[in-house]
């Protein structure tokens, strides 16, 4: 479904991605794990088009999208819930969700999906017409995920969805992510909480300073001694 071939990305003169090659198959949950600054967020931003690679190619459903502008990628089915939530704080919860469905024109479908989001995250419903900036951290996180889902994506990219959430909420959240996946959405997940991420993923990539250091079956990586030591806090 998604393929990155030797993607190199620069911030000014700094090479942030040093030739990343990875793929995501339809229906999978794939995790990117690694330390801060390893290039996980940069990878996601490159896939959604906020950053343009200096070299390398990105294919989505076998189509070269390396130079497709970001807003068109949303229309192709790629949704990105960015790091640090990045919800529109001055807009209401409802308006945030509406923007998630910006490119859709099926009014009824949108209403249905909003209700579906509310069933996933009942707390959002109570806050419907409140400015999103007044939500708690956990609620903002839910809103960001809900907003990405409103695009009805084929590929959903989540950047640190558990950041700053209480442990009980994290469990809930990962259940929801698995749920969404079961309903047919492919997921590319970036997580600090590597243990949690690996436990719901089929495959994973370990990034280190802008390159893929390891890749493979999520369960196997979870058992790998190096990974355990470096990322699972064992």
């Amino acid at each position: 479904m998604l393929r990155l071939e030797n993607v190199e990305v620069y911030y000014g003169v700094i090479r942030a991605l040093k030739g990343i090659t990875l793929k995501v198959e339809k229906g999978e949950i794939v995790s990117l794990i690694g330390a801060n600054g390893a290039g996980k967020t940069t990878t996601l931003r490159t896939i959604s088009g906020l950053l343009t690679p200096k070299s390398g190619k990105i294919y989505y459903n076998d189509q070269d999208i390396t130079y497709v502008p970001p807003y068109k990628r949303v229309g192709m089915g790629i949704a990105h819930s960015p790091e640090g939530r990045e919800i529109f704080t001055t807009l209401t919860v409802y308006e945030n969700l509406v923007l998630g469905s910006y490119l859709r024109n099926d009014r009824e479908g949108i209403e249905k999906d909003i209700n579906w989001i509310f069933s996933l995250f009942p707390r959002l419903k109570e806050r419907l017409s409140k400015p999103a900036g007044t939500l708690s951290g956990g609620e903002q996180q839910m809103l960001a995920i809900g907003r990405a889902l409103m695009a009805k994506p084929q590929l959903l990219m989540l950047d640190e969805p558990s950041l700053g959430l209480a442990p009980i909420l994290v469990e809930e959240l990962f259940e929801v992510i698995e749920d969404i996946n079961k309903q047919g959405t492919t997921i590319l997940l970036v997580e600090q909480n590597a243990n949690m991420a690996l436990s719901i993923s089929q495959r994973a990539y370990v990034l280190e300073t802008g390159s893929v250091k390891m890749e493979g079956d999520a369960k196997e990586l979870q058992e790998n001694e190096d990974v355990k030591k470096a990322y699972l806090g064992a």
Partner: protein, 299 residues
């Protein structure tokens, strides 16, 4: 000292002037909200609107409804062209580059106008049914004044509804908050920016018509001071905020009229100087304006 009718008359004058300032300030403020750019050429679009109106009136004897609408469209079009040609290539450039370009675009339009239209001021005569005056004792106002105020209110209400209720309006507010996140929603940010320029310039175009109708005289530099004052108005109201720009426009209108109307006449030569003084005071006391919040967006 000052009679009641005199005060009332000043009050009316202030509302008329404030309406024009409000319309100009909206566009300036909205563009700033999205691009963090003060469009120096905004005032010049007001001038273009006024000249378009003049030619429609004198050369084509067009009906006044058309004289109102066409300058809006021309203004909007010029705004879009300016954005496309001068500002879009600089989307990722430092703020100073944008500032200087914006300044140069304004110079360019003004001097082009001098070349094409001659620097000579021209009389701007509105149809007689609009210049008809109403007298109530010592108070008087003309039909055009009523039109200015009503049109402003209508435009502000329509624009507010558009920005509040429609999907594109929501997208405009979203883009003002974060361009990158807006991209992730599938919003074509360039189109939204273009639309913002179009709407703002449209209002400037019609404001130009109002300005010309009110003062009866137009010249290529006529947009410079209203543009500067619109900035003051936007800052008073909190730059980037639509209701703020409207309130700022009216407040500035009142401040200016009452300053001129109630201070000794020998100081009235400093009318514009007073506005600048106000700018500095506002920036000193409340840089984020009366309605604004401190800026917080990532750039």
């Amino acid at each position: 000292m000052f009679s009641l009718p005199y005060v009332l008359q000043q009050f009316i004058n202030a509302i008329i002037l404030g309406s024009i300032y409000a319309l100009v300030a909206i566009g300036l403020s909205m563009v700033y909200g999205i691009l963090r750019l003060i469009n120096f050429a905004h005032g010049d679009i007001l001038m273009i609107g006024a000249y378009t109106g003049l030619f429609l009136l004198t050369l084509y004897k067009a009906p006044f409804a058309i004289v109102l609408i066409v300058p809006m469209l021309v203004g909007g079009l010029i705004g879009v062209i300016v954005e496309r040609v001068a500002y879009r290539p600089l989307r990722k450039a430092p703020e100073v580059a944008l500032l200087i370009t914006s300044l140069a675009v304004s110079m360019f339009i003004e001097n082009l106008a001098i070349m094409v239209l001659s620097p000579r001021p021209r009389r701007f005569r509105i149809p007689s049914f609009l210049s008809k005056s109403h007298f109530y004792g010592a108070i008087n106002f003309r039909n055009i004044d009523i039109l200015i105020v009503i049109l402003t209110v209508v435009l502000v209400v329509v624009l507010t509804l558009f920005v509040k209720k429609t999907k594109i309006g929501i997208a405009m507010r979203a883009t003002a908050e974060s361009i990158n996140t807006s991209y992730l929603m599938g919003i074509n940010v360039n189109n939204i920016i273009m639309l913002t320029f179009a709407i703002g310039s449209l209002l400037a175009g019609v404001a130009g018509m109002m300005f010309a109708s009110k003062y009866g005289r137009i010249e290529p530099f006529m947009g410079f001071l209203p543009g500067l004052k619109a900035f003051v108005a936007s800052v008073i109201g909190g730059i980037g905020s639509l209701p703020g720009a409207v309130m700022g426009g009216y407040l500035l209108g009142f401040a200016e009229i009452f300053f001129v109307g109630f201070l000794p006449p020998q100081l009235s030569g400093y009318r514009d100087g007073f506005v600048f003084l106000l700018l500095i005071i506002v920036l000193l006391i409340r840089p984020s304006g009366i309605f604004g919040q401190a800026e917080k967006r990532e750039v």
